[in-house]
Symmetry: C2
Subunit: 209 residues, 2 copies
Amino acid sequence: MGVKERKLRQKEEVRCQILTAAWDIVEDEGWNALSMRRIADKIEYSAPIIYGHFENKEALLMEFTRQGHIKLLQLVKEAKERFEDPAQQLEAMWMAYWDFAFENTPYYQLMFGVEMGCCEWKANEIPEVAEGRKVIDGVLQQLIASSKNPDADSCLKFYSLWSVVHGLISINLTRRMYDERAFREDGHGDLNQAILKDAISGIINRIKE
Amino acid sequence: MGVKERKLRQKEEVRCQILTAAWDIVEDEGWNALSMRRIADKIEYSAPIIYGHFENKEALLMEFTRQGHIKLLQLVKEAKERFEDPAQQLEAMWMAYWDFAFENTPYYQLMFGVEMGCCEWKANEIPEVAEGRKVIDGVLQQLIASSKNPDADSCLKFYSLWSVVHGLISINLTRRMYDERAFREDGHGDLNQAILKDAISGIINRIKE
DNA sequence: TAAAAAAGTTAACACCGTTAGCAAAACTAC
DNA sequence: GTAGTTTTGCTAACGGTGTTAACTTTTTTA
């Protein structure tokens, strides 16, 4: 009697509906517009049923955080595989990170608390985070090992790179650039690309010495 | 009959009470705990009177944003005046920016949308923002002019520096560092200082060539 | 002292996340 | 097939949010 299986399938269906409904709202109107009641409206249920699938709103956001990190990791890995040279790999990976932020802005905001509160997670809750760090750090260590200064700290360089990329992304997403003329059109403008490439290649060249 | 003057003084007094009450709440419990009703409770008025002093909550936050930028500008200017050498000035200014972020975290969060939504402002609404940019850019141009590569773009370098500093601050404030051991104690740890100094001096040295 | 203006109140609206209690449907066992 | 049990989903409610309207009280003016 596959009644249990069917019920499980149905429940999974509703869970999926909740997530897609939520995502539709967020993509259309941003995180501020997302509420339990609006999700319920969209899937034609009453609000409390959501709590049968997610403990609370935080848990729902956590699921999206997870999704975001999985997607980001995949893109970063793909970027790496397009090259053999560690320096090229590194640049491609951070460019992939950059592109992810602007092609999946709601994800990025949630994952890194840009213009919104983001949920806290323990280290083991999203293994993709640690894996992403390891992938980048591996390339970084390769680059350092073959450089003229093989004792450099990969951790230091990692955070330098991450900071400059995340910082520039944040500044763009909050639209807090000082020189508005230069950034007028969109967040992918030439000046941004120039800054990014200059900063990244600057750090990479300093590693290679 | 100085009744109008007295009334104006009293109104100003209440406005001030609102601001300090709000700030007390934010410092104690963070931005999420700030609500119009809680402010009203604290100043022993009913909530609607706040709307006689600020058009809405956004306007109240705007006032704090302004305050933050004024304070930040002052600290950056003071840092500059402690040195003569442009390179030293630059480093000191960004260190002042860094210190400001951790000694006035609520301000910083509000001003730059870290872990919360920040209010939008037009360029002329907070003149201190443009002035701060000009102060830093001036030093940057001095440094570039006396370098071996005097055609470098100061705008590019400004955003590189700002991005790396703001990025590292954001990462610290959202506690999203990958390597938790290294950041265990506080946000001013040794690793942070190392990353910051390495990144900043890296960019500065690359300017000087 | 009466009229006008100002100040401050309460109550309400439309939301929010979340929980308790209840009705209806679905399934199980006889 | 029906009785009893479980599951499902609902409405209503609680305590909170920002904000506005209407009313009352105080203060100032004439």
